[in-house]
Symmetry: C2
Subunit: 335 residues, 2 copies
């Protein structure tokens, strides 16, 4: 928990500085995920140890850091572990739904276990994450936790049922990515600020900072799916189109296309049909990129990012402002 005196740092330095605290979080996650079923237990252990970017637990800690961090350290670590475990539980169910084979470079639980097993292990991890939220002893933190889980499920249900509609409003898209991605960032930040005993206005601004960063993160992630190739992303570009998911660039492109035209027919076919060729995916990607929709989407992401950063003015100490700004850079670099 040593606090440096410099006010400028890069994100690697931020991670170095927070390494010991993040280690406490991982240990708490491991403690509560001990299972008496050897296969599930070792797979979960590998997922936790592989670590991922730990953006969410880091955010819980950093949101509490400008305030009563030392006094509330144990509760903050508990909440951060709860948030990370909620994220892992949600990934276990996501991977089951998507039949994903690899996560964080390791085989997914669903690749070594029945659907029934992964549903139950995911539920068990949800239970343990709720237990950690309860263990903070703060009923408001528990309420934020439950609300976050509800929003997360709502976003995922929207993705499953409504994501293939070409005529969706921008608001529908934003509600979907807000639930799917930004809600957990926003909830993590809110829990951290509450436990740090920030003032109400500080709590709300820090929550909004995380929420808007989450929106920027997900828009960039959606853009990347259309602009980068296998190697950089670790998955084939155009994956969203292949699954029939309409993300922001596709939505903005669709708004330019006449619903009576052949172009619309082509667009509609790629999104809704099951037997679309790789050439057709490539052709649609080219059309979207030529339309300016990518730039328009990135401009919206930038708006959210700038709005998010201005929220940090509420934090008086420049060092703690810097920490959160670097966290946002880390998050957006990951997006």
């Amino acid at each position: 928990m040593a606090v440096g005196t410099e006010t400028r740092l890069d994100s690697t330095q931020l991670l170095d500085r927070m390494a010991a605290d993040l280690e406490s979080v991982s240990n708490r996650v491991l403690e509560v995920t001990e299972l008496s079923y050897p296969v599930a237990s070792s797979v979960i252990r590998e997922i936790v140890l592989a670590g991922g970017k730990r953006l969410r637990p880091l955010l819980v800690l950093l949101a509490g850091r400008p305030f009563a961090y030392e006094q509330q350290f144990d509760a903050l670590v508990t909440a951060a572990a709860g948030v990370e475990l909620l994220h892992i539980a949600s990934l276990v169910h996501d991977d089951t739904i998507d039949h994903a084979a690899v996560r964080r470079g390791k085989p997914t639980l669903n690749s070594v276990m029945s659907v029934g097993g992964t549903i139950l292990v995911g539920d068990f991890l949800f239970a343990q994450s709720a237990m950690l939220a309860a263990r903070t002893g703060d009923v408001r933190v528990v309420a934020v936790f439950a609300d976050t889980l509800g929003k997360l499920c709502d976003g995922q249900l929207l993705e499953l049922f409504d994501a293939h509609k070409l005529d969706q409003e921008l608001d529908t898209y934003l509600r979907r990515i807000s639930g799917k991605t930004a809600s957990l960032f926003a909830g993590a930040a809110e829990m951290g600020a509450i436990l740090g005993r920030a003032s109400e206005v500080e709590i709300q601004e820090i929550r909004s900072f995380a929420d808007e960063t989450g929106l920027a993160f997900q828009i960039r992630d959606d853009v990347l799916d259309l602009t980068t190739t296998d190697l950089a992303l670790g998955k084939p570009a155009g994956n969203d189109l292949r699954q029939g998911t309409v993300t922001l660039p596709t939505l903005l492109y669709a708004q330019q296309v006449d619903p009576a035209s052949a172009d619309w027919g082509f667009l509609n076919r790629v999104i809704t049909d099951d037997d679309v060729s790789e050439d057709e995916i490539g052709e649609l990607i080219a059309r979207i990129r030529a339309s300016g929709a990518i730039q328009e989407a990135l401009a919206l992401a930038d708006d959210f990012q700038q709005k998010a950063l201005r929220r940090l003015e509420i934090i008086r100490t420049s060092e703690h402002r810097e920490n959160l700004a670097r966290w946002a850079e880390l998050a957006l670099a990951a997006g």
Copy 2:
């Protein structure tokens, strides 16, 4: 909430007396399960309205009733709705795992929706149930809630992974049914007593009463699978054997059989093989019934039931003792 003066009542009278309060619980469940996805929304509504036996929310209310019931009524209704929703969420995932087609006389969610959809709707219902627990504003209730969910998952995981072992200890069987069934009864009773502001010793005795009733309930349910036929149970007798699940009567029978004998080979084959004929299931049921294992299992259920009822001596008012005793009768009649 009218309280009668008679001290003897049958279970129908108990349900009549509690009907208005149970209606408040159902309304609260419906409020928080409004979904913007028409199919899921109407299926969930049907499951809630079909009602089932509502044993768990009834228990929350009755556990709070001897104490500060009127003052704490709103929190008790909220907790009861949370418990019922947790039960429904768990049924949604169970039915998905078991590929069940009908629940409470209605088509299951998984019969009209993809696996991905039912996983997410189940998760959403877990989220809403956690939100209701948080809304009681009592951090201990939330902790009991999270602990109950954890035990429930543990019991179901044990059923999935260990239930087919013929050499399991009685303790393993009890831990499994304790998690799968008794934990939610015990948690419901504990939440009700806590919210009713019972004393610590009252809370523990009421919890144990519900826990032991749950064990008796599940043992009887397991026995029924070997002793009743289609019509009474609504499912084919011997279902557990067909799925390779070793319940108490089978376990007790296995303890009498020499592992080197042909009888053991037959038993082992029925439990572990996939291509077992109906005749073989019938033959194994006949052997188990002839062995006295059914009577032995029922005697253990009776022990738990008697132990449970003695716990009620902690409750001073005979009327409230009676209410809980009638609840146990209702539960055991359902088992």
